[in-house]
């Protein structure tokens, strides 16, 4: 007579365990990709976010974060990565808007700025252009560069499509040994929305 309640309770326990496991896994996946989760390991320099030198690289959570966001980076001594989700005023970058990314040459042997959609994939465009590097970006007479990010543009232009969010990734390969003091909100590239 007691077997029915026991079976019912076992079934309820299984359902609860499955729900709990799924919720925990989903929460972890979401948390791994969230900006809030990276706050403790992050340098924010102007609109750009980067990881502190080698911080927590052996930590399981950090490893999973990197694998989720952008796996297989080079180590910090070899390359530095600066990601921007917002413009210099703190507003989220959006694909239907136009921005100007302007700055001076960066203290590294090679550097590049690339544009991605929210999933980290390139915006499809006829020119097949997703980035500019120190080798192909046009500089002005003062030795500064400006890149237009948006649906319309010319010159140094990274096209975007759709209505979703935009991520910009600044890569510095073989950065100068004393690079950190020179990276300030005033010296990193600014990201300013071009109002219509």
């Amino acid at each position: 007579m007691r077997s029915r309640p026991l079976i019912g309770r076992a079934a309820a326990a299984l359902v609860v365990a499955a729900v709990g496991f799924t919720a925990g896994a989903a929460a972890a996946y979401h948390w791994l990709g969230s900006a809030a989760a990276t706050a403790a390991l992050r340098h924010d320099i102007g609109p750009w976010q980067t990881m502190k030198d080698g911080a927590g690289f052996t930590d399981a959570f950090y490893i999973a974060q990197i694998a989720r966001i952008g796996p297989f980076p080079n180590p910090p001594g070899e390359a530095l990565y600066f990601l921007a989700h917002d413009d210099s005023s703190g507003a989220a970058l959006q694909a239907h808007k136009t921005y100007r990314v302007c700055g001076q040459p960066l203290p590294a042997r090679f550097w590049s700025i690339a544009a991605y959609d929210a999933a980290g994939t390139f915006f499809a465009n006829e020119a097949r252009r997703s980035s500019y590097t120190n080798g192909n970006v046009a500089m002005d007479a003062q030795g500064r560069f400006c890149i237009t990010i948006g649906p319309q543009g010319n010159g140094n232009w990274l096209p975007t499509t759709g209505e979703g969010k935009v991520q910009l990734l600044l890569r510095l390969y073989q950065p100068a040994a004393d690079i950190w003091p020179s990276l300030t909100a005033q010296t990193v590239p600014s990201i300013v929305e071009v109002k219509p």
Binding site: A13, G20, F21, G70, N74
Partner: protein
Amino acid sequence: MSRRWPLALAALLLVSAAVGYHAMIWYVPHAVMQKAYARFTPANHWVHADVLSGSKGSWVPLGNPDIVASRAAYDLSQGPLLLTGSASPDTYWSLTIYDGRTVHFYLVNGETLAGQPYRIALVQAGDAAAIARARAIGATLVESPTARGYLMQRTFVTPSTDFAALKPVREAAVIVPLR
């Protein structure tokens, strides 16, 4: 018993959520590696991208559109490996080795090589016989924390990059058993 039952279910919910949370943190890097093993098969064989990744998308989020990459999955379960090749000249080049959790544990770049070829014995950490063999042939000894992992050569491309000149350098890179 019946009063404790809801509490027991609540505890079970919390414990299973915690297990699910940690399982996902373990799973994410391993899922990336499984994708790499499936994509770069057979193991221990370089796959040379012949175009910039930006012109056809990338297999991982935030792929670099300014490099041509050579990639391989490695598997030390059948024994240690010998990696030989050279840096791409006149541009940024590096070879990075990642373990089975996507964590880098070795890097060499063109500046370090200074025009010389590389000769790397990749062995599983603690494999005394393989380590002795690597030392005997004078190769650079690199110990992998895991039996499987991922290799990536990056060549930064500039407007002046001569693809035709790069091709034989890239294709001369080989992975062979360490004998």
